[in-house]
C-alpha cells in the first residue's frame, strides 16, 4: 500500500468527516446567533453566553452533574480495579464465573431497567432501614457508581490480563511484600487503564439522563435533565452555547491526552540499534 491517499479515498474521508462533525459545527455556529429562533440566523452575537452565565438553574445543574460525575468516576475506579484484581489475579474460587459475568451485566442492561430497579431498591430501603432518607444527589451517585464500575472493570481487567505476571513475581522475588508489589509495580503499569476508565466513567455519568431521572429527587437535577426538559419546552439558543462550551472542554481534554501520549511515545522512540 502506498502512503498517498487516492482521490476516491480522500472523497470518502471528507464525506465521513462531514457526516460526523457537520452537526457539531452547525451547533457551534448557531451558538453565536443573535436571533431568538434557534434555526434562523440573525447575525453574530455572544449574548447567549452571557445569558447562560446568568441562568442559575442551568449552572447549578451543571455543577451538580460535575460533582456527581467526579465522585462516581473516582469510586468506580477503586471498585472496578478491585473487581479486576479479583477476577484476573486470584485463583479459582466458587462462583468466579458468576461474579465475572454479573459485574459486567450493567453493560448490556437497558438503562430503563437499571433505573427502575434502583428506584424500587431505594424506595424499599428508605421504608425499611430509613437510608437513604430521600432521593437526591446521593442516590444518583450510587446509581452511577453501579454502572460506571462495570465499564471500569472491563477496561482495567483487560489491561491486567495483558500485563506480564512475571513482573509481579519479579518484584516479590526481589523482596517486596504483596502490598508493595501492588503499589510499586502493578499500579503504575495499569495506571493508563485506570485513567481511561476514570475518563470513561466521568463521561458516562455526565451524560446519563435515563437512570438519573428515575433516582433523582427534588433539588437534585442534573444537567442532562435540565437540557432535556428545556428542549421540550422550546429550544433556547442558550443550549447551543452550553453545548459549545462542553465540546470545547472535551476537545481540550482529548487533545491534552493525545499530546501527553505522544510525548511519552517520542521519548521511547529514540531506541538504540543492535547490541553494544
Amino acid at each position: 500500500m502506498g502512503h498517498k491517499v487516492s482521490s476516491l479515498g480522500k472523497t470518502y474521508l471528507t464525506l465521513g468527516f462531514i457526516f460526523l462533525y457537520l452537526p457539531i459545527f452547525i451547533l457551534i455556529i448557531f451558538s453565536f446567533n443573535e436571533s431568538k429562533l434557534v434555526t434562523v440566523w440573525g447575525g453574530f452575537s455572544t449574548k447567549w453566553y452571557g445569558e447562560l452565565l446568568n441562568d442559575k438553574q442551568m449552572l447549578g445543574a451543571a455543577w451538580m452533574s460535575f460533582k456527581i460525575a467526579f465522585l462516581a468516576a473516582s469510586i468506580a475506579v477503586v471498585l472496578g480495579a478491585l473487581a479486576s484484581i479479583v477476577m484476573v489475579r486470584t485463583g479459582q474460587f466458587k462462583g468466579k464465573a458468576a461474579f465475572a459475568s454479573m459485574i459486567t451485566a450493567p453493560l448490556v442492561m437497558p438503562e430503563v431497567i437499571t433505573g427502575l430497579s434502583l428506584l424500587l431498591l431505594f424506595v424499599a430501603m428508605a421504608q425499611t432501614i430509613g437510608w437513604p432518607a430521600g432521593r437526591g444527589m446521593l442516590t444518583i451517585l450510587i446509581a452511577h457508581v453501579t454502572f460506571c464500575t462495570a465499564f471500569v472493570t472491563v477496561v482495567v481487567s483487560s489491561r491486567l490480563r495483558e500485563m506480564d505476571v512475571s513482573l509481579e513475581e519479579a518484584a516479590r522475588d526481589l523482596g517486596a511484600p504483596p502490598w508493595k508489589v501492588f503499589f510499586l509495580v502493578t499500579l503504575p503499569i495499569i495506571a493508563p487503564a485506570l485513567i481511561s476508565g476514570w475518563l470513561l466513567a466521568f463521561t458516562l455519568s455526565l451524560d446519563d439522563l435515563v437512570i438519573a431521572s428515575f433516582v433523582s429527587g427534588p433539588g437534585s437535577t442534573t444537567l442532562p435533565m435540565v437540557v432535556y426538559s428545556s428542549v421540550r419546552l422550546g429550544l433556547s439558543p442558550k443550549i447551543n452555547a452550553l453545548a459549545t462550551i462542553i465540546v470545547l472542554l472535551a476537545t481540550t481534554g482529548v487533545l491534552t491526552a493525545w499530546w501527553l501520549a505522544r510525548r511519552v511515545e517520542s521519548k521511547s522512540i529514540k531506541r538504540p540499534t543492535g547490541d553494544s
Binding site: D164, S166, L167, E169, A170, A171, R172, D173, L174, G175, A176, P177, P178, K180, L184, V185, P188, I189, K267, S268, K270, R271, P272, T273, G274, D275, S276
Partner: protein
C-alpha cells in the same frame, strides 16, 4: 569445590501435584556452593515447577527445600535468599535501568543509604557492562542488553542461590552462544550458586557444571555434561542428549574380559566391555554415538561391532557430514564423517559402506 561439606541447596523428596496431576515426583538433589546446575528436559517435564518451588512461587505438596542448611519450604517468596532471572526478563517497564537494579536493594530491611545504593547499582551495571545505559528505559534496550540488566538485578541482593529460567530463551541463535559464555563468566566471577532451567541441551552443556535430566516429573540422571553424554543410563537420556544409534540386543556370551550380544539388525555380533549386569538371554539396548562410528568402503578386519548397509542420505553440514545408512533389516544408522579434505567426496548415495566401532565406544542401556 568448597571446604564445607554442607550443600548450598538441598531438595529432599519434593513432590508437587496440581489437582491430582503430579508435576514433580519425589525429586532429591544436592547442589554445592558455587556450582552452576542445570535442570534439563522437554516441556512439561516438571523442571519449571521445580524452579518455581525454589523461588517460592509454588509450594511443595511433599518434601522440603533447604538453603544453606535452613528449611525454606514455608518461607514466602519475598523473604527467601534466592533471586531469579525470568525468561521474559520481567524488567519493570516504568523504571529506568538503574531503578530496576536498585529495586531489590530498596526492599531490604536494613536499607542502605541513597548514595550507597547508587554506588552499588553502578558496580553491578559495570559488572554486566551496562553502566552507560543506567538512565534508559527497558524498552529502549536490545534483547542482549535487557538480559544483562536482568542479570544485574537478580545479583543485586547477593542471593545465596541464583535461579535462571530459560536464560537464553528470548534471544536469537547467534546472540545466544555469545551470551551463554558471558553469563557464565559473570556468574563465576561473582561465585554465586546457580540453578538454571532449560530445554536446550547445548545450552545446559555449555553453561552448567552438572546437569540433571528430567522426564515426566522425575530425575533420570545427574552428572557432568560429559558423563551424561558419554554414559547415559537410560534410552531417554541417550536420545535426549545428542544423537544416538540404539541397537536392541540379546546377551549370548558372558566372558571375563568382554560380553557378546546378538542383534537381529546386524550381520555381526556386538561386543561390549565386561561388567554387564545381566544374565544370558537378557534383552538390552546398546547405544553408539554417530561420531564414534568409522565408515569404510572395505569390509573391516574385526569380527564384531560392524555392520553393512547402503548410504540412503547425506547431510552436508560444512565441518562434518552425517551419513544415514540403511541396513538390510530396514533400520537406519547414523554416522558422522569429518570433512578434512576439500576435494574428498568418496562416499555417495546408494554406495555400499561398512560401519564399525571399537569395543569401548558403546554404552549398555538397561532401561
Amino acid at each position: 569445590m568448597t571446604g564445607s561439606n554442607q550443600p548450598m541447596l538441598e531438595i529432599r523428596q519434593v513432590s508437587k501435584s496440581f489437582g491430582g496431576l503430579s508435576a514433580v515426583k519425589e525429586v532429591s538433589l544436592s547442589i554445592d556452593k558455587g556450582e552452576i546446575f542445570a535442570l534439563l528436559g522437554g516441556s512439561g517435564c516438571g523442571k519449571t515447577t521445580l524452579l518455581r518451588m525454589l523461588a517460592g512461587f509454588e509450594s511443595p505438596s511433599k518434601g522440603a527445600i533447604f538453603i544453606d542448611g535452613e528449611d525454606i519450604s514455608k518461607v514466602p517468596a519475598h523473604k527467601r535468599p534466592v533471586n531469579m532471572m525470568f525468561q521474559s526478563y520481567a524488567l519493570f517497564p516504568h523504571m529506568s535501568v538503574a531503578q530496576n537494579v536498585a529495586f531489590g536493594l530498596k526492599q531490604e530491611k536494613n536499607k542502605l543509604s541513597k548514595p550507597q545504593i547508587a554506588k552499588k547499582v553502578l558496580e553491578l551495571l559495570t559488572l554486566v557492562r551496562m553502566q552507560d545505559f543506567a538512565q534508559r528505559k527497558p524498552d529502549q534496550l536490545s534483547g542482549g542488553q535487557r538480559q544483562r540488566v536482568a542479570l544485574a538485578r537478580s545479583l543485586a541482593k547477593k542471593p545465596k542461590v541464583l535461579l535462571l529460567d530459560e536464560p537464553m530463551g528470548a534471544l536469537d541463535k547467534k546472540l545466544r552462544s555469545q551470551m551463554q559464555l558471558e553469563v557464565v563468566d559473570i556468574i563465576e566471577s561473582v561465585g554465586v550458586t546457580c540453578v538454571m532451567v532449560t530445554h536446550d541441551q547445548e545450552e545446559a552443556m555449555t553453561m552448567a557444571n552438572r546437569i540433571s535430566v528430567m522426564h515426566e516429573g522425575e530425575i533420570m540422571q545427574v552428572g557432568t555434561p560429559s558423563e551424561i553424554y558419554e554414559f547415559p543410563n537410560s534410552r531417554h537420556t541417550a536420545e535426549f542428549i545428542g544423537s544416538v544409534n540404539i541397537f536392541d540386543a540379546t546377551v549370548t556370551q558372558l566372558e571375563a574380559d568382554y560380553t557378546r550380544l546378538s542383534c537381529v539388525d546386524l550381520n555381526a555380533p556386538i561386543q561390549v566391555e565386561a561388567g554387564v549386569n545381566a544374565p544370558l538371554g537378557a534383552s538390552l539396548g546398546i547405544a553408539v554415538r554417530p561420531e564414534k562410528i568409522t565408515m569404510t568402503q572395505k569390509k573391516p578386519e574385526q569380527s564384531d561391532n560392524w555392520l553393512m548397509g547402503l548410504v540412503e542420505d547425506i547431510a552436508y553440514l560444512g565441518g562434518h557430514s552425517v551419513y544415514y545408512v540403511k541396513l538390510e533389516s530396514g533400520k537406519r544408522v547414523m554416522a558422522i564423517g569429518t570433512n578434512n579434505d576439500r576435494h574428498e567426496q568418496k562416499v555417495t548415495w546408494q554406495d555400499r559402506v561398512y560401519l564399525h566401532w571399537s569395543i569401548t565406544s558403546s554404552v549398555v542401556l538397561y532401561q
